[in-house]
Chain length 284, copies 2
DNA sequence: ATTTCGTTTGTAATTTTATTACATTTATTG
DNA sequence: CAATAAATGTAATAAAATTACAAACGAAAT
């Protein structure tokens, strides 16, 4: 496992001085690998043995071994740690931090996905009479995006942003219909109600949400996503991206299930767009 | 450069004893990185200074530095590569592949972002009288999402999916208005027309698109994103995610520029949502 | 507030590891 | 077969990391 991730993950378990060390390393891991234990201790305002203990806490043999691990993590070109943006960041800094923490979140999300459940939901979707995607707020655009994918499959796809329309649509659902409810927190009342209405009308309800949430309890099937959301800025960011990627996974599973001939259909949909585009100089 | 390759490449320049060292390392690099200079010397039947000289010949500072380089070379299992989904992938396989290639694309996207331009666009946005987000197809949901972010800033934000509405909206734009046009290919005719209309009416047009596209030429400012899109399945995936992340960057830049007090506003917007939610057992 | 215990942290000694300076050997060329 | 340059090794030195132990700190109990 990437030791940088491990550091930020174990941050809570560290003692005060160990945290100092952790911060210095996370702030500038490239410098850390080229420092001796003495200079790293000085940079962190901590004694040398503390640095050593810090290394051992991370299950390395000692400082040199730790450096090796660190070097390897950095070599991956992936210091994808969820680094928080702060007030004094330059544009370059916050840009990189956001990209990196998005990648870090995706990695976490990937590990939290229940593949068996993905498979089951893909099953459901391929057999669905009608598929609905509902989300509110930030998740509305995820639902929107899902429609954009699934309509290509030539399956009836439904999507409303309006709560009343969502409710009415669910009222009319029947067995064989699949309703996908998207919510990061899973605590949006109206969406839980929508899920309940759908179930009362025999639709199969699938939630894309966090585990143990009210929404997850209202669903027949739940695709859980545990994403560390940086709530400092009060805007949903990583959760959304993870949801979208999961939608991609479902869409891909769908096309794979339908087989080769089906994929030729997709190409046709794409080719239809050509008329609306400026052609490339060469090739498409 | 990968130091293992460098070793085998420089093999001819090595002296007899150095060759011994090189061979031992190449034969089992994993062992080498966990050995001290003494044990490596013994393994190679060579003295310690010879090992040291060997390291220096490879342009490293000494043995420990050499080990760092070696460790990095070994770490390169090249993690997030854009691995293409194929027909016979199991759910676990395609799930992982999609997550990983999404991360890989984000990494590429990150490197392609022009930070100075980000800064300029943030400038523009903070001074805008009105901000419009337009996109079609898959980019429509990105625009949708952008609205969800920027409306929190208490700035007039506009978004239409309908082409005619987009055109009309641009007709009414004036100096001080910022129009953001989102398109992966930058070849969607209607969107280029929308951009032109906006410019004719003195709005500032910003494109989030690929370089050298017709759309990029129609804009005052262009935020280019070069994302390797897996076109096998004929669905926009990575491009979208990169666009969304860039929107996050812009939104973050915006809040940072506006300063601390402003961020308290954001918290208020978020708190307003609380009434519509099921509360958490503890805490918010 | 004060004592006590457990934890955390630092100081100083020790050990390990790497590097340097120099001597010896080995090859190379006239 | 010298003479010289290059390569290698030995031993001393320096640097770095680790250990053992003592001081400081903080939480719980009196």
């Amino acid at each position: 496992m990437n030791i940088l991730e491990k550091i930020s993950q174990d941050m809570l378990e560290f003692s005060k001085s160990e945290k100092k060390v952790a911060e210095v390393i996370l702030a500038n891991p490239q410098v850390a690998i080229h420092s001796s234990i003495a200079s790293l201790a000085k940079m962190s305002n901590v004694s040398e043995p503390t640095v050593n203990r810090f290394c051992r806490r991370l299950d390395t043999k000692g400082y040199p071994d730790f450096k090796l691990h660190l070097a390897q993590s950095l070599a991956n070109g992936t210091p994808y740690v969820n680094r928080h943006v702060d007030e004094f960041d330059s544009p370059a800094e916050y840009t990189n931090k956001i990209f990196e923490s998005t990648m870090a979140s995706l990695e976490v999300a990937r590990q939290s996905v229940d593949v068996a459940m993905v498979n089951r939901v893909v099953d459901l979707l391929t057999q669905a009479r009608k598929i609905s995607f509902f989300g509110l707020g930030a998740s509305a655009s995820v639902a929107h995006d899902a429609v954009n994918k699934f309509f290509r499959f030539n399956v009836p796809v439904v999507h409303f942003e309006d709560i009343l329309m969502q409710r009415m649509s669910c009222m009319n659902s029947t067995e064989g219909d699949v309703v996908i409810c998207i919510s990061h927190t899973g605590r949006t009342k109206s969406l839980v109600e929508v899920a309940n209405i759908a179930r009362e009308n025999d639709a199969t309800v699938v939630g894309i949400t966090s585990p143990d949430s009210p929404l997850s309890k209202a669903c027949n099937y739940v695709l859980t996503l545990s994403v560390p959301e940086d709530t400092d800025l009060y805007m949903p960011m990583a959760s959304r991206i993870a949801q979208l990627t999961l939608i991609d996974v479902l869409a891909t599973g769908f096309t794979l299930r339908r087989g080769n001939k089906f994929r030729e259909n997709l190409k046709r949909v794409k080719d239809t767009l050509r008329g609306s585009r400026f052609n490339r100089p060469e090739n498409s």
